[in-house]
């Protein structure tokens, strides 16, 4: 393996991250925040280390082969999360390094689980950094690097595929670099729109930016202690709901829509199913919440139901109400939430989970098996949007779903061995693996992950990374065959 080439690419990736630390540094300086030292130290370490690594390998040329690609993506994420954790570590409010790494991974993977007990008292620059890393991880650190660094030309497609979610990744431009640029441009435009709308709704500019960053990334870090529960109001809640919904949609569709082809959404089969699930789940939950008298007006029931359904389905993880209180009177709520967590966003979105299309394909595949039992000689293709899905993709989807569930079961068993109750074990793993954020039980919407044991934290860190990189990339490194020549 061409180790030096990999080091060069990793150095470039982290150099980009180091440079983004300038923003919170300047902010801390201007606002005279106490975390200025944390950022100065982190920035220096990151930039010096990555520059040194880059300079010592700058002459290395070569092309990435398959295995290099997986290694670059995996190590890229591990290292970026490491350097991203430094400001937390030197800031001192997060505790030991495990906590800082947990928070950083939770940010980059757009999970949104936090180990903080008190959020709003943090210095502003640190709060902002939490939002930035989520925004950064939403569209993807590799995709950003592809867009701005010229050194990832050939072989870039594989890196791109490893980071952009979904079983099939289409380019919207012939070159990876142009595709990455366009996706980031779309991402920036929609985020800016949300900032504007929130700001017009009376939210402070700082909160508008922070929440827009974490909404579009479907991340879920908030600057408030109680997420979106008390200080936002109906208008802002609806804006956030709308943009969370957008974040869960394929950005290639947003691109076409921005180019004037609004109908592109409705030609896309996955989008229709995604919308269908959101609408159905929202109505179901609203009706139940109303009928069991948790909310007395149908409108209020709908308001909280739509926010929570969209937040969890898109794997954002904001909460506008303490939905843990619903579980006793409406047991459908937790069941629904866990289901939605697993389904997640769509191909090419910033959402996590298994992705709508995979679940849908798995179901269609299952139905075809039944159909073939009835008509043994029938020839039947699985189609999406009128197009036949190649068998190779179906196989990879089934493989993905099986691995996803196996990892979920395995991690849940470990969590319960560590002594956590059923609800906590199941939801803490589901919420991290699908990059949602809060779970239920001890890690519910008003709790945090600080109380989880050390081993549990590292397990959940692994779950977040595995979920964000869609299982295969990271798991591959654990397969001995990968390292054989």
């Amino acid at each position: 393996m061409n180790i030096r080439l990999i080091i060069k690419l990793l150095a470039a990736l982290n150099l980009v991250l180091g440079c983004t630390m300038i923003i919170p540094l300047v902010m801390a300086f201007v606002l005279k925040q106490p975390d200025i030292k944390a950022f100065a130290v982190s920035l220096t370490i990151t930039v010096v280390l990555s520059t040194a690594a880059y300079l010592s390998t700058r002459k290395v040329r070569g092309e990435l082969n398959h295995r290099h690609g997986f290694l670059v993506v995996s190590l890229g994420w591990l290292s970026v999360c490491f350097f991203g954790a430094l400001p937390f570590y030197f800031g001192g409010q997060f505790g030991d390094f495990t906590n800082c790494y947990f928070e950083s991974v939770s940010g980059f993977t757009t999970t949104g689980s936090t180990i903080l007990t008190k959020i709003s008292t943090l210095p502003k620059a640190t709060l902002f950094w939490r939002s930035i890393i989520q925004w950064y991880g939403g569209m993807g650190i590799i995709v950003l690097s592809l867009a701005i660094l010229p050194l990832l030309g050939v072989g870039g497609m594989q890196l791109f595929k490893a980071e952009v979610p979904g079983p099939v990744t289409d380019k919207i431009q012939p070159r990876v670099r142009d595709t990455a640029k366009l996706l980031w441009r779309v991402y920036v435009i929609i985020t800016a729109a949300q900032v504007l709308f929130l700001w017009l709704g009376g939210t402070s500019l700082f909160d508008s930016i922070c929440h827009s960053f974490t909404t579009m990334a479907t991340g879920g870090f908030s600057t408030k202690d109680d997420s979106v529960m008390s200080s936002f109001g109906l208008y802002n809640e609806m804006i956030i709901t709308f943009f969370m919904f957008l974040g869960g949609v394929n950005f290639a569709l947003h691109y076409m829509a921005l180019k004037g082809d609004i109908k592109a959404y409705f030609r896309d089969g996955e989008f229709k199913v995604y919308t269908g699930i959101v609408v159905t789940a929202t109505l179901l939950l609203a009706v139940v919440l109303y009928l069991v008298h948790i909310y007395d007006s149908p409108f209020t029931a709908l308001r909280y139901s739509v926010f929570q359904v969209v937040s969890i389905m898109t794997t954002t993880g904001y909460n506008s109400a303490d939905y843990e209180l619903w579980t006793v009177a409406a047991p459908i709520a937790p069941v629904l939430f866990i289901l939605l967590m697993f389904i997640g966003g769509t191909t090419g979105s910033t959402g996590g989970g298994m992705k709508v299309i995979r679940v849908w394909l798995a179901i269609k595949h299952g139905y075809r098996e039944l159909f073939l039992l009835i008509h043994p000689r029938a020839v039947r293709m699985v189609k999406i949007g009128g197009k036949v899905v190649p068998e190779a993709i179906l196989d990879s989807v089934i493989g993905f779903v099986v691995l996803y569930i196996l990892i979920f079961i395995f991690a849940t068993i470990i969590m319960s061995l560590l002594g956590y109750d059923f609800m906590t074990s199941v939801t803490s793993v589901a919420t991290t693996l699908s990059n949602v954020g809060p779970g239920l039980g001890e890690v519910g919407p008003t709790d945090n992950f600080n109380g989880i044991a050390l081993a549990g934290k590292w397990l959940l860190i692994a779950c977040m990374l595995i979920g964000r990189l869609e299982i295969y990339t990271l798991i591959l490194l654990l397969v001995p065959e990968f390292w054989r020549r």
Binding site: G153, V154, M157, Q158, P174, R175, R177
Partner: protein, 452 residues
């Protein structure tokens, strides 16, 4: 500006790869999804699975903004229709189509309405390459520059030959008064752009830069027979074989053509005049001996099956033919066959690629030729005043490793340069460069070697 390539075969792949490396936006369309998926790992292009002649698909590929359409799928009809549809959407797009059927070539007017800018027939291009090779035989490769006035000629250095083991600066001692310029030495899998102290070894393939009229002297130096090729045996009566036989007939050569099928033989005999058409297997040693293969000047295997071609050529060589050429569709074989004793391999794909590249060249680049498959190129371009390499004697210029100026082309004079030669602005420069050296050569001459 986009470039759309229909057909992800060898030709399509090679061209896509080249253009992508130049940073062009390339879209490749093919019906074979698995092939596309495997290409995706190598090329940074967009891949669309489907029929390249479908208007819907071409529109999706962005034909309206495309600067060029290269239709090189393996079906003529698809290529033609694709060009026609492309013309409907975007008349200004440059269109290149591969057409295999020789009938089409014979009636170019019939296809005027398709508005195709360049027709390519790979087999036809391969025949032209073979003709060039026969002209320069016993050279195993010939590449022409400056309208054929400068040649890059490859020879295999045989053990015990005059040049075996001699240092390059000693070459003029072999034949006083004549010191040929060695542009490159292919040794095993390596390409060496030699300096004076480098040695020629048996088994090397050496590329000499010569002016066309100096070729006989070079042939004498190599110690090879220099009698021109007169008697040729062709194995395989496909359209390629027929076309080549016709061309060679016209040059007054004596041709024997072996073809397996009786019916095809009759057709061939009908279309050819002086050629002896033989019905039989090309790997039938008895037939070859009966037809006096050992007295032939060259044996050319042109059947559709490349393994057959290689074996037939080896057989003919073992029976005493001096010069054997084999046709192969697999690029990997081109460099392989020379190591097993076949003199030259010609690939229709590579020939087609060269033709397309020659058509696409632009700006200061006059011509570009791939040399021995993919690892080096000969490039002819116009020197600019702004270049650091202009106005100074060549020996003072720090040329990148792996590159060598092999000829200077002035308006009415061509010559092979020496260390004291000074390149003037406006001169044509022919340079040999390995793949790695190309970007540095571009820098030195401040020329971009772009195709499009």
């Amino acid at each position: 500006m986009k470039i759309i390539i229909i057909g992800a075969g060898d030709v399509g792949f090679y061209i896509a790869d080249k253009l992508c490396r130049e940073g062009r936006q390339v879209v490749v369309i093919d019906t074979d999804n698995e092939r596309l998926m495997s290409l995706e790992e190598h090329i940074d292009a967009q891949f669309i699975n489907g029929d390249g002649s479908s208007p819907e698909l071409l529109k999706r590929a962005g034909i309206e903004q495309a600067g060029m359409l290269i239709a090189v799928s393996n079906r003529d009809e698809i290529n033609l229709v694709a060009c026609m549809v492309a013309h409907y959407f975007s008349p200004q797009t440059l269109k290149i189509a591969r057409l295999r059927n020789p009938d089409y070539q014979r009636y170019p007017d019939a296809f005027k309405s398709f508005n195709i800018d360049l027709f390519i027939n790979p087999e036809y291009e391969a025949c032209k390459k073979i003709e060039n090779l026969l002209e320069a035989a016993p050279a195993i490769d010939v590449v022409k520059f400056a309208d054929g006035r400068v040649l890059l000629v490859g020879f295999r250095i045989e053990a015990e030959a005059l040049m075996d083991g001699s240092k390059l600066y000693n070459l003029n001692k072999i034949m006083p008064g004549y010191a040929p310029l060695v542009a490159a030495i292919y040794r095993g899998r390596n390409v060496i752009v030699p300096r004076g102290a480098d040695q020629l070894l048996a088994g090397d393939i050496a590329y000499f830069a010569v002016l066309a009229d100096q070729l006989p002297r070079l042939l004498k130096l190599t110690g090879k027979r220099e009698t021109p090729i007169e008697k040729v045996m062709i194995a395989g009566g496909s359209n390629t074989g027929l076309y080549l036989a016709q061309q060679l007939e016209q040059k007054g050569m004596k041709v024997k053509l072996i073809e397996r099928s009786q019916a095809r033989c009759e057709e061939l005999a009908d279309q050819l005049s002086s050629t002896t058409v033989l019905c039989g297997e090309s790997m039938d040693a008895e037939l070859l001996e009966e037809e006096n293969v050992s007295s032939m000047d060259a044996f050319i295997a042109l059947s559709k099956d490349e393994e057959d071609n290689i074996l037939a050529t080896l057989l003919a060589k073992s029976l005493g033919v001096h010069f054997g050429i084999t046709l192969t569709n697999r690029l990997d074989y081109v460099s392989l066959v020379s190591s097993i004793g076949i003199d030259a391999a010609v690939s229709p794909q590579l020939a087609a690629v060269s033709r397309i590249m020659r058509f696409l060249r632009r700006g200061k680049v006059r011509s570009v030729e791939a040399i021995r498959a993919r690892n080096a190129e000969g490039i002819e371009f116009t020197a600019l005043e702004s270049s650091k390499a202009v106005g100074r004697p060549l020996k003072e210029i720090d040329f990148p490793e792996g590159s060598l100026v092999i000829a200077i082309v002035k308006e009415n004079e061509v010559f092979i340069p020496s260390g004291d030669t000074v390149i003037q602005p406006g001169d044509g420069v022919v340079i040999f460069a390995t793949r790695k050296a190309i970007s540095k050569v571009e820098e030195l001459f401040s020329v971009k070697f772009e195709y499009y």
